[in-house]
């Protein structure tokens, strides 16, 4: 190498290094300095609060709810601007993870309960909200125990938007068409119902299993029954049980029975969640086993008025129908590094306080995480909504979804394992064993 070439090369290397170092430096110095609480005196200063949310569809009641409350707040607090970053669920999850890796969580964001939010809490990215919860008794507007799913070490980190249970929605017209008189109350009856419907050329149960959590949610219903009560996964976590437990194996077998009976649409694993729901909402499938958060959109679809709901049946005589797979919503959390921590907390307090009233007016109150006031019938809620509201009154407890209980690595392995059952029959003991192996490898 000639001298000049050497020189040029050296310049390249050095400047490349300098550039990367500079980049690193910037990243580090940005985070710690800004986290202090702003003093009270700055109250009149203009602030912008970023509000990441998962309601991008303007036609949904949830979207209208957020728009309305934010509008009200901005009117009353002219110096505060709320910037909405509306994404669909998958995008938001991914964006938040990327932001979290850079320690730049938006002022308000959406998290899921328990195991799914734990990594964020452990990394110190979320601000404790106990002071917000205590202010004006906000805590007491929530249903008992609901906030526990969002608390770690007695610190509350998020406020949920709902508390849903999983039920079996069914299309009364299609049931009638197939000549089914009685709603299934046992798993055997469910299988018979499936076969009857199938024989009439009706898709028995709608599902979009490309998003593999859907099948898992259904599976958890069965596990809740075969385990004769909740907490199977927690027992596994505590080392009291393993996945090789007979209850788990039995659940896998029952689930396979459902698949083999032809309960699900052809090519279920290529249908995504929305498309799966639409099979039911367009009247092409007789049942839809899903959370009560779907109530509003079922009432807004073409099968409105023809739909009823019943509890997931007992399996092999086991389980209590008043125990449910519970989905304690998705929740609003605040970034610990927020530049306007106090303003953000003030806004969130207002938001949560207003939410139940506005949700009620928008007919979106079924599965609300907060106690509702007002008469559903008077407010013009559907028959389905009212009947579901009755079910809520007898809820005895239940389990969270698999991915809310186990860490993401185990959850993903489980999800793909359940998805596999849709396309091929497996030895249930083997499925259980694989679960256990993954669990031990990723504990």
């Amino acid at each position: 190498m000639s001298r000049t070439k050497m020189k040029a090369f050296a310049i390249v290397v050095v400047s490349a290094l300098a550039l990367t170092l500079a980049a690193c430096n910037n990243g580090q110095s940005a985070s710690p300095g800004n986290s202090g609480e702003p003093s009270r005196g700055t109250e009149t200063k203009d602030v912008t609060i970023t509000f990441q949310n998962i309601n991008p569809d303007p036609s949904t009641p949830s979207y209208k709810m957020i728009k309305q409350i934010v509008g009200q707040y901005e009117q009353d607090h002219p110096h505060v601007k709320i910037e909405l970053d509306s994404l669909n669920t998958d995008q938001q999850k991914l964006k938040l993870k990327t932001q979290a890796a850079a320690k730049e969580v938006p002022d308000i964001t959406i998290v899921n309960p328990a195991a799914q939010m734990k990594p964020f809490v452990d990394a110190g990215l979320l601000a404790p909200l106990n002071d917000v919860a205590d202010k004006e008794g906000l805590k007491d507007t929530f249903q008992n125990g609901l906030l526990n799913y969002y608390s770690f070490d007695d610190k509350l980190y998020a406020f949920p938007d709902g508390n849903n249970i999983e039920v079996v929605f069914y299309n009364k017209e299609l049931f009638k068409q197939a000549g089914i008189q009685k709603l299934p109350t046992t798993f055997d009856e469910l299988i018979t119902t499936v076969k009857t419907l199938k024989a009439k050329g009706i898709t028995p149960i709608a599902i979009g299993e490309k998003d593999s959590w859907t099948g898992s949610l259904l599976f958890m219903n069965i596990l809740l029954r075969t385990n004769e009560g909740p907490n199977f996964l927690n027992d596994v976590l505590d080392g009291k049980k393993t996945f090789n437990d007979p209850a788990f194996v039995e659940a896998v077998d029952a689930f396979q029975e459902l698949v083999q009976a032809g309960a699900f649409p052809d090519g279920a694993t290529s249908i995504d969640y929305n498309a799966g729901g639409n099979i039911f909402k367009t009247g092409k499938a007789a049942m839809y086993i899903m959370g009560t958060w779907e109530t509003g959109s079922i009432d807004a679809s073409s099968v409105a008025g023809k739909v009823g709901a019943f509890q997931f049946p007992t399996v092999n005589g086991k389980g209590d129908v008043n125990e449910y797979v519970i989905a304690p919503g998705s929740a609003f959390a605040v970034s610990a590094n927020s530049e306007h921590l106090q303003e953000t907390k003030d806004f969130l307090h207002y938001f949560i306080k207003e939410m139940p009233k506005i949700q009620f007016d928008l007919k979106n109150a079924i599965g609300s995480g907060q106690k509702m006031k007002g008469d559903l019938k008077e407010a013009g809620y559907s028959e389905l909504a009212i009947s579901l509201n009755e079910l809520f009154k007898n809820v005895k407890g239940g389990d969270l979804a698999f991915d809310n209980t186990m860490n993401p690595a185990i959850a993903q392995a489980h999800l793909s394992s359940i998805q596999n059952l849709f396309v091929q029959k497996e030895d249930s003991a083997q499925v259980a064993k694989e679960h256990q192996n993954t669990f031990e490898a990723n504990k």
Binding site: S2, T4, K5, K7, A8, I11, V12, S15, A16, L19, T20, A23, L94, K97, A100, A101, P119, F120, D122, A123, L125, T203, E209, K210, S212, P265, D266, G267, A268, T269, S270, I271, N407, P408, A409, A411, Q412, A413, S416, S417, Q419, N420, F422, V423, Q424
Partner: protein, 296 residues
């Protein structure tokens, strides 16, 4: 460089900005992800250094990795196999079709469509007949009912359905490259050959083939490396499912990094993918150097 008669400093002024950018955008991230591959990290919390544990697990204990490598390789091989057909078609078009450009443009159309659109389009074509799947519908209409199936969800078939879509999409792309290559061969050569008595296939053997080799190589490298990284189409159509049956290295990497939140493990997979791409580029270059020497 001596021909230019400019000092190295001047060259550096022009080259450096790009080189710097390239280094920062390509090499630094590669190094960073190799480093991340040595960590046990969920992407958010404190990372733990675990040395080569991730790599060890990928090579010895991961039941998804090797099948996904195999599928990735198959993808690459399939995508190369269509290029000779493209060349043949290009030669025929050039020779027998007047205004072949229009045809080539039509074949090229799928390339400019977004992969998401392509994916959705073919997903609907592959759907079960009950959901309006066109392919199954046609099979039923012509009495081949026994051939109908759920193309994207049967583990043994799904991957081939995906290969096919990719072949369909890039057919026009490679055809255009080959066609341009063939067109660029001066006509005088063929006329001269004609005088010497070489026409048709013979002229192709001694004129077209040697001259098209560099273009052919470009196509092959693009197809091969492109399909080693195949991600978008698979993600849209099957998401790697059912149960990893259509996972390639890149979809599996995504799954691990962002869904399973094993960022370190995903980074290790990414590093392996870089090595695979790099080694195949070298191999292809080597092979073509020999071919070029032989045919010319």
């Amino acid at each position: 460089m001596n021909v230019l008669k400019v000092p190295a400093r001047t060259i550096a002024v022009f080259v450096l900005p790009c080189l710097l950018l390239y280094t920062c955008m390509v090499f630094v991230p590669i190094l960073v992800s190799v480093y991340c591959g040595l960590l046990d990290w969920n992407g958010i919390a404190e990372a733990k250094f675990v040395g080569l544990a991730n790599f060890e697990r990928i090579f010895t204990a991961d039941s998804v990795f090797w099948p996904s490598v195999k599928r990735t390789m198959m993808f690459a091989v399939f995508s190369m196999l269509e290029i000779p057909f493209c060349l043949l078609l290009a030669i025929l078009l050039n020779r027998y079709v007047r205004k072949a450009n229009t045809l080539v443009t039509m074949y090229f159309l799928p390339v400019i469509l977004s992969v998401v659109i392509i994916g959705q389009l073919w997903k609907t074509i592959y759907n079960p007949a009950s959901m309006g799947g066109m392919l199954n519908g046609i099979l039923m209409a012509i009495g081949l009912e026994s051939w109908t199936r759920s193309w994207l969800t049967e583990p043994q078939i799904a991957m081939y359905a995906l290969y096919f879509v990719s072949l369909w999409q890039y057919f026009g792309y490679h055809l255009l490259i080959q066609f341009t290559g063939v067109q660029n061969i001066p006509n005088e050569l063929y006329e001269a050959a004609k005088i010497d008595g070489a026409e048709g296939f013979k002229a192709d053997r001694y004129i077209t083939l040697p001259l098209i080799v560099p273009i052919f190589k470009i196509s092959i490298v693009l197809a091969f490396i492109g399909s080693l990284q195949s991600f978008d189409l698979i993600w849209v159509m099957t998401g790697g499912g059912p149960a990893h049956a259509t996972d390639t290295v890149s979809t599996y990497m995504y799954n691990m990094s962002f869904l399973s939140m094993k960022y370190g493990y995903g980074s290790a997979l990414a590093s392996i993918l870089v090595v695979i791409c790099l080694s195949f580029t070298i191999v292809i270059n080597f092979v073509f150097k020999r071919i070029e020497n032989k045919v010319s």
